[in-house]
Amino acid sequence: MAQPSQATDGMDSVPALLQRNATRFADKSAYREKEYGIWQCWTWAEAEKEIEALALGLINLGVNEGDFIAIIGQNRPHFYWAMVAAQSVGAIPVPLYQDAAAPEMAYVMDHCGARFAIVQDQEQVDKLIEVQEGLHQLEHMIYVDPRGLRKYDHHKLHRFIDIQEQGRAAYHEWIEDLKARRGRLTYNSVCVMLYTSGTTGKPKGVVLSNRNIIEASKSSSEFDKLTTDEEVLAYLPMAWVGDFIFSIGQAYWCGFCVNCPESPETMQTDLREIGPTYYFAPPRVFETQLTNVMIRMEDAGRVKKWLFDHFMAHARRVGPSILDGKPVSGMDRLKYALGNLFIYGPLKDTLGLGRVRVGYTAGEAIGPEIFDFYRSLGINLKQLYGQTEASVFITLQPDGEVRSDTVGVPAPGVEIKISDTGEVFYRSAGTFEYYYKNPESTASTKDADGWVATGDAGFFEEGSGHLRIIDRAKDVGKMADGRLFAPKYVENKLKFYPNILEAVVFGNGRNACSAFINIDLTAVGNWAERNNIGYASYQELAGHPSVLETIKAHVEEVNRSLADDPMLSHCQVHRFLVLHKELDADDGEMTRTRKVRRSVISEKFDDLLTALYDGSSEIYTTTEVTYEDGRKGAISATLKIVDAKVAPVAAAHKVAAE
């Protein structure tokens, strides 16, 4: 496929887009951040000045073209400016997950060889100081929040606003240099380097060029008709490609406003205050929100509860059709309008989704009930399928063709093919350049023609042309008798129950499937409270006989639904146990984007896995845990192993019934 070599209107870099926006949308809000209880606002013109000051300050500090600058912090305008300032001086921004532990950070810092780091606060400074020994390249750190840092050695530590101040003071000295550097940026220059969380092995640095980011932003903005009037809330990790595309790529392309919450804890309040029109959240966020709504409705009065149930049933029936513009009877429409006035509207407002015009979820499969719940309220929630290597977009669901079991049609400018083994391949203008310092992985992922292996197995549905993803290609295995084993499919079915937070299904090379299950503390805790079940810890609640009974019922329900699927009826879960701890990224059991690391888990809980298959009814185990500050501890527990009833396979069932 021909790569566009020329940018539209000379907009061949993010800094170039910034210059355009600063003139074209000068007085329009570009960034808002809630600070001191008020939404502080910067227009495009003001943001351009802030970024320019920082860029000059960076040159003054000695940043060269081609340097890597690590950026570690929560979503704040300062860090978005830092990324664009880094680009303006010809450096490459490398955003990192701010909740990563020091050793994880050390690996990435060392791999990219960052000379500079722009970080949020004392916590991040401390982490970098802790690993500084091994980082020979790191020279200077710039921090935004000075709190607690007064006593630190300031030879190589600088305050963000001081660097900007120095930049302003040295304006005449460096402005020509800055302009020259900006002028040297092309469509081919590196825009950003993002580390993939990596479900296996070490993180890889994905190098994305201006072409990748701008083309992907442009075509996706056109696909959803995004305008300069959109409002987004930036709350997802800055190290994640999605945030980069939404909060920088599309925001700069369209010129819309990026709003940053006051703190992670206030996210829900801030969401409601801003009322975004364009919203992205992983399924987990929607799940949590729905669980919270349901828990609160359990506590509501009877009349309210009845009204809610009644109108929600109506919304489920006609809501999605109305949203998709399909014919719906006048009476139903009237009732839906009434429901909107009294139930759906206020509910959407409470959720902060009252103004959402385009909403996306991706990253994991979303439960059909959850998906339908939001759509029936009239929220245009859609799914997309993407990855870092594609600058997000591979497939998108067009308005009016939204379903919970597919991920949509190829995004504009993306070609997709399915290999003989069932793996999905794509190529597009957004396809990454290469993995940094890793030609072997680059070669094995991206072939000479630009086709990239996604690592996911899937197929195009006949008729609709929508792509359906079954599972990670490498996770799809064979059972002992040679039949298909698709763990994720089963796990997702399990996870759709509010009581189940995570599930890990085993069965590759074995004759039956079994599962580890994590309970959802919010949902199960609330249930325990209502049923007067006392518990002192997560562990105790997870091992409670009634909880096991409930989970068993869920597993059996899943088994029944699996029995109806001719492809996967043999993947029913025979035995399971409820884990005594939550799977956690700090312990390496999940990635930072909360995907389970199967191999790590089966290795770490080897004793439990053995017990699932050797017929024992309980097992004593000790597990090492890592606390947020990096210290380690151990927890031990005796876990009950539960046998779940397996439903007879549908085909056989039907024969018997006839």
Partner: protein, 272 residues
């Protein structure tokens, strides 16, 4: 006699100034009970000064003497170079002394924000009429005060509970709100009465960090009473140890730790 000019620098580089408050031979009696017996010590500008001791040692009484709530029968309190006469507590507060309480004393039905705003009462000077019609001075004052309060809220990381009624908060957060209210008064001396009592390890760590940050960021002089020896030794610059109303030790945490009287008071001593 008050060498307000003299000061020293701590190991971690904080500047400790001269003496701001001095207790001279304080004796406090309740009827026949002697709560404090002939105690003298001083508090320096910018330091964290702890008062420790076993139960019933007279620590809270001492804090109440500092705050001006109790007036000692004997002895003198010198504050900012002048002898302090007997005062009403609000007069003490006007001198820039704020405190938190061992048993939380917040307005349970009011939001966190409103509670913290009450810490600014000293800075609200608009008259009743102006307050009622909400114009001119009252409005300007409120804006200014709110700004200070918001900075404190940001500093103590309680933005997410800004509009939550205090009654609904867990204990650890209530303690933090109390600290916020005291800070909102922009005190020159902050008195903390058992700031960590009843907290779990994590909450204690948070609170310790906030106390250190307050001292570091605003240069606030802090006098605190605490039971948890570990916390006291980590936090304070100098420690006064009391037992049965008497001072049995005074010095840096290391000096106090090695003091035989202190060890006896805490671990007990065999009577032969």
């Amino acid at each position: 006699m008050l060498d307000a000019s003299e000061g020293y620098t701590t190991e971690d580089g904080r500047k400790i100034g001269g003496v701001v408050m001095e207790m001279k031979n304080i004796t406090l009696r309740f009827g026949g009970v002697v709560a404090i017996k002939d105690i003298s010590f001083d508090i320096r500008q910018g330091e964290i000064r702890a008062i420790i001791g076993p139960n019933g040692a007279g620590k809270s009484s001492m804090l109440n003497v500092i705050s001006g709530f109790y007036h000692p029968q004997e002895g003198e309190v010198w504050y900012q170079g002048a002898r302090r006469p007997q005062m009403k507590p609000y007069e003490v507060a006007r001198q820039g002394i704020a405190r938190t309480f061992q048993n939380i004393a917040l307005f349970e039905g009011m939001t966190v924000l409103d509670n913290v705003m009450t810490g600014r009462i000293r800075q609200m000077k608009a008259g009743l009429l102006s307050q009622a019609i909400w114009k001119g001075k009252a409005e300007r004052e409120e804006t200014l005060n709110r700004e200070v309060v918001e900075k404190v809220i940001d500093f103590l990381e309680i933005q997410h509970i800004r509009k939550t009624p205090v009654g609904r908060l867990p204990y650890g957060l209530k303690k933090r709100v109390e600290l916020a209210r005291a800070l909102a008064a922009e005190p020159s001396i902050l008195l903390l009465d058992e700031p960590m009592a009843g907290m779990n390890v994590e909450e204690k760590e948070d609170m310790s960090r906030f106390i250190l940050d307050v001292n570091d960021e605003f240069g606030t002089t802090i006098a605190l009473i605490e039971h948890d020896m570990g916390v006291v030794m980590d936090l304070s610059d100098r420690v006064v140890v009391m037992d049965y109303g008497k001072k049995i030790g005074d010095g840096t945490p290391d000096e106090v730790r090695r003091n035989q009287d202190v060890i006896d008071a805490y671990l007990g001593v065999a009577h032969d």
